[in-house]
Amino acid sequence: MKKKINEQANNILRHTVLLIISMFFMLPFYIMVSTSFKTQAECFVYPIKWLPENLNFAAYQDVFKIIPFGRYFINTVYITAANVLGVVLTCPLAAYSLARLRWKGREFLFFLTIAVMMIPYQVIMIPIFILFSRMGVIGTYWPLIIPQYFGIPFFIFLLRQFFKGLPKELEDAARIDGCSEFSIFSKIFLPLCKPAILTIAIFQLLNTWNDFTGPLIYLTKSKMYTLQIGLQQFKSVHVTNWPPMMAASVLISLPIIILFFIAQKQFIEGVTFTGVKG
């Protein structure tokens, strides 16, 4: 009996701690959403109102009125889609070559692939900018898209580990049947590697969607801005206009959070992989 009560007390304590932790992580989201439904005046009421007086969507209308939100959204979707396509096309090819094809210089290329991951972005940022500026593409989307079509070292590494883990019998049988190297890759290995490819696609999607520095450096015309830069501009002008800023924050966070719930497994696996290599 006593043991049971003890256990119950323990259980309550545990959930209390977990709830307090959850509050820390969730309250900012709650404030974001609730403030987005408030009026400007309601924000500056003391003590704080936990719920808006009534559900008004004025702030959401404002977002579309004050900033060209739809335009920024389309721009961001366009760049994101182009980037995801890029990494999905190139990274598996390079990873497959590093994992399963035997050729001179392969080990050295793999070493370089790992080594360049250590370079801070700030070191290579300016020369890459100069490179694009000499090509005359500053102010276009090209600098934000092209690099993804030439491989991302971390993704190549991740896929390479995945390809390494597949049994050798797979390709032997195909080779005896006289399949070409490319069809062994595309018909046998690529389909098996789908979960890993999905992981890198999601990572790239998240990276591009949330990218701030890239668009900040390369985009010059405001009608070409992405959501991140557009919202930052809005923020710097409308410093205290909280409800529309919160509404915009909800709108740019929501797609990613929805995606997380759809592809939770890939998110978690991708993140834990970064720890495994350490």
Partner: protein, 301 residues
């Protein structure tokens, strides 16, 4: 002899296929990593304004930086931030992982809750936290007032601005926690069972089993944490709209680097800053690596 002849063309073909598959990445590696790396060293020794290299001026950029107070200020800001955020996320990350690893109903949901903030775009994160940390109408000071604590001025003061950024950064600790959780998962269960039989309590188990066996993951997270903190850019930039206010207390190293490169077009000096940063990161990594022999335990050793 005939056999050998037959093998050779086959082998050559394989070589070619290997190169062919890797060729987009080979081009990418050269164009977006190796070439920029080498040319940024070169630029750092020149007066490069983004269009032309006016002259090669040796280590003058580095000397100028050493005599520049703003450079040292940005270094100091970044250092203070790193000193706050790395130990705090080490401690909180492990603590949260241990708590979230306890078998409880709904454990999966609590883990997801801790992870979700890492998904939010930095701009959205800055907006909501600037409001939460508003010294008059913000929720944080309201709660502090309710429990009888004085509310700090947060972003309004030079003293509190960096801890505020650290606090926001800790809100997105979910990725780190997830990596610790994966590490905890790799610790064999029978170690704990044996300790229970020996009569060890929770704290002793944590101190003598969990922490020692988690050290490889701790090591990894410390290094990643340092690299991330030293390079921190977006959060202070977005919060202060690129200004670094109040009184340059939020002018982080990467922000000054960005300003030098893209606002003042002192690309040579900006590249010198980037290389100083690179050297600092490598030095810190080597120091942690060096000390790791004393405190990192690998299983099976």
């Amino acid at each position: 002899m005939l056999g050998v002849k037959n093998i050779f063309p086959n082998k050559n073909k394989k070589e070619v296929v290997g190169w062919l598959f890797a060729s987009p990445w080979l081009i990418g590696l050269m164009a977006f990593y190796i070439y920029p790396l080498l040319s940024s060293i070169f630029y750092s020794f020149t007066t490069f304004n983004g269009i032309t290299v006016e002259k090669f001026n040796g280590i003058q950029n580095y000397i100028d930086l050493i005599h520049n107070d703003v450079f040292w200020l940005s270094m100091k800001n970044t250092f203070i931030y790193t000193i706050i955020v790395v130990p705090a996320s080490l401690f909180l990350g492990i603590l949260l992982a241990i708590i979230l690893n306890v078998k409880t109903e709904g454990r999966g949901i609590y883990r997801i809750i801790a992870f979700i903030p890492t998904l939010a775009p930095v701009v959205a994160v800055s907006i909501v936290w600037q409001w939460l940390l508003n010294s008059q109408f913000g929720l944080v000071n309201y709660i502090l007032y309710k429990v009888g604590l004085p509310g700090p001025p947060w972003f309004g003061s030079e003293l509190w601005s960096k801890p505020s950024v650290a606090l926001i950064s800790l809100w997105t600790i979910g990725t780190t926690v997830l990596i610790y959780l994966a590490g905890l998962n790799d610790i064999p269960k029978n170690y704990y069972e044996a300790a229970t039989i020996d009569g060890a309590g929770v704290i002793r188990k944590v101190l003598h089993i969990t922490l020692p066996l988690l050290t490889p993951v701790i090591f990894f997270n410390i290094i990643m944490g340092i690299i991330r903190a030293v390079q921190e850019f977006t959060l202070p930039f977005v919060i202060t709209n690129g200004m670094g206010t109040p009184a340059n207390s939020m002018l982080f190293y990467s922000m000054l680097l960005y300003k030098n490169a893209f606002q003042y077009f002192k690309m040579g000096e900006a590249n010198a800053m980037a290389w100083i940063m690179f050297v600092i990161i490598m030095a810190l990594t080597l120091i942690v690596q060096y000390t790791s022999k004393k405190w990192v335990h690998y299983m099976g050793e």
